[in-house]
């Protein structure tokens, strides 16, 4: 991989570029000793859907977690909604987080609360509204994801697709500025998956949210993306529009798009480390 292969976005485009809501510069991160992201520079612009793609283990979920400021970075700078996250005190950090929403891959609904209570939780914790109002607001979001009437079920009583949709409802109940989704359509049947794509598009169009989506599904990515970031083993291979990505001549991008198996994808050292359980946690420690 030489530097020239990296296709940078075209900054000289005629139309003015919207301001960015997230700016990442030279982000380097580690899990333990292992370097995962090796100098990532990117931005998410206001009102755009940014899709993050890349091979398995390339660091997509890791990047997403950093964009939400859930992990400690090794070096680099990150600005979310104009605030450098290194400069924030706890209160400012909490306030910033109220403007973010996330729909995790597995939904991450709280199993001890009903679906309705899950969706209502951010309202309950952050607003002084009375219960009736909160219920109405939660129900509106439930309607948006077509889960109206399921408020009183427990998460365990929902199907996988319903859990994902409920997680969406919870993620947007506070009308966040930025929405993060990890693999929204993984493991869903095509009809539900495409309904989720529509939902994501609607959220951007109707509410002007900036949305960051990690996905494996090419069709889905091409349908919703304004721009695509392609990660490869901790590096950014390309950032560009759907057309730019589709017409890329880069071999690795071609392989990714055409599902050519890529033997190099796994660093053998990493694989060995994983096999020997170098980093398995709890089990290995004496009492």
């Amino acid at each position: 991989m030489s530097e020239q292969d990296i296709v940078m976005e075209d900054r000289s485009a005629a139309q003015s570029v919207p301001p960015s809501v997230i700016e990442v510069e030279d982000l380097v991160t580690h899990y333990g000793e292992r370097e995962i992201l090796k100098g990532v520079t990117m931005e998410v612009r206001e009102g755009e859907i940014m899709v993050i793609m890349g091979g398995s283990g390339s660091g997509k979920s890791t990047l997403l977690r950093h964009l939400m400021a859930l992990e400690q970075k090794t070096s680099g700078t990150m600005t979310i909604l104009g605030q450098n996250i290194d400069d924030l005190n706890m209160q400012e950090f909490t306030d910033l987080r109220k403007k973010l929403g996330v729909a995790f891959q597995g939904g991450a609904l709280f199993s001890s609360l009903t679906v309705g209570e899950n969706v209502m939780l951010p309202l309950y914790e952050h607003t002084g509204l009375d219960r009736k109002t909160m219920e109405i607001m939660a129900r509106m979001k439930m309607e948006v994801v077509e889960l109206g009437g399921f408020e009183d079920l427990m998460p365990a009583e929902l199907s996988g697709g319903m859990i994902k949709r409920a997680a969406f409802a919870r993620a947007v109940v506070m009308d966040p500025r930025i929405l993060f989704c990890d693999e929204p359509s993984a493991g869903l049947d095509p009809a539900v998956a495409s309904a989720l794509d529509e939902l994501i598009l609607n959220l951007r169009d109707a509410m002007g949210m900036s949305i960051v989506v990690v996905t494996h599904e090419l069709d889905s990515a091409f349908k919703i993306a304004d721009r695509i970031t392609i990660l490869d083993r901790g590096h950014i291979l390309m950032i560009g529009t759907v057309d730019e990505v589709k017409s890329s001549t880069n071999e690795r991008i071609y392989n990714l798009l055409n599902r050519v198996p890529d033997g190099e994808n796994l660093d053998p050292d990493e694989y060995l480390a994983r096999l020997t359980g170098e980093e398995s946690g709890v089990g290995n420690q004496p009492l």
């Binding site: 306030d95 987080r97 929403g101 996330v102 597995g106 991450a108 199993s111 914790e125 398995s280 946690g281």
Partner: protein, 271 residues
């Protein structure tokens, strides 16, 4: 070749020992930070519009305390009666069996009531706490809380911690009461000392100090149980199996912590 190998494995051994030691210290540190942070949210939560929810605390109190009453009463009683039997049996050698009350009252109030309560709460609620936090960790529920701007310490740790610190001493008092009463019944039957005489004796012997020591110890146990449960739960990696391991580990650690604390306190208070 061989020496090099040995060298390597020895090096690796010490590296592992070192790593575990660092990890252990880290866990204790994490626990301390957790307690301080819980305290912080309990005191300043309201002002920051992020209060520790009273109903969550009450719910935990029910779960940790109220539902544990039968088993703790039963085992507290069983231990005290056993001690009475043993005490009478031993003192009879010296013809001093009527003095059994003194030893019994001290040892139940200062040691056994807090300890048996602590061990049972560790087994029932400490493990449940570890399992709950661990499951939430692997389901990314804790991450979800963070992104929602809900502090997990305030939301998940402070309520059970507060509930434990309130309920474990209460349960200890109950356990000691039930235990001493049942032991009294046994002594009444065995030695013919009337219950009221026995109770007078108990009240006479016990000083505020003894009760204070029992109660303050039970508070320490409560904090230990909660912190160990949370630290193990939060450290879970690798799916359901990890949760199981963390749960087991939390019970073993909590019981060890309780017994070691008891020993340290008794050494400090009698030397």
């Amino acid at each position: 070749m061989a020496t090099e190998n040995e060298h390597n494995s020895a090096g690796r051994f010490f590296e592992n020992v070192g790593r575990s030691a660092v990890h252990g210290i880290e866990e204790v540190g994490n626990g301390g930070v957790m307690v301080l942070e819980s305290l912080y949210w309990t005191i300043f939560g309201y002002r920051l519009k992020q209060p520790v929810r009273m109903n969550a605390v009450i719910e935990q109190m029910m779960e940790i305390g109220i539902t544990a009453i039968p088993i703790i009463a039963m085992l507290g009683g069983a231990i005290s009666v056993t001690l009475a039997i043993q005490g009478i049996h031993t003192l009879r050698i010296f013809g001093a069996e009527s003095h059994v009350t003194a030893g019994l009252a001290f040892v139940v109030v200062r040691e056994f009531a807090p300890m048996i309560t602590g061990i049972l709460v560790a087994g029932r609620s400490g493990s449940a706490l570890a399992a709950r936090i661990g499951t939430m960790k692997i389901n990314q529920e804790i991450d979800a809380l963070k992104v929602m701007g809900i502090n997990p310490i305030r939301y998940l740790v402070a309520p059970p911690l507060i509930a434990m610190v309130i309920m474990v001493p209460c349960l200890t008092i109950m356990s000691a009461g039930v235990g001493l009463f049942l032991a009294g019944v046994y002594i009444n039957v065995e030695l013919g000392i009337s219950l009221s005489a026995y109770l007078d004796q108990v009240i006479d012997i016990l000083k505020v100090d003894d009760v204070a020591q029992g109660l303050s110890k039970s508070c320490i146990y409560a904090v230990e149980i909660a912190v160990i449960g949370v630290v193990n739960g939060a450290g879970v990696r690798g799916g359901a199996e990890g949760v199981g391991k963390a749960t087991t580990r939390s019970v073993v650690q909590a019981i060890s912590a309780i017994i070691v604390t008891a020993m340290i306190v008794v050494i400090m208070s009698t030397v």
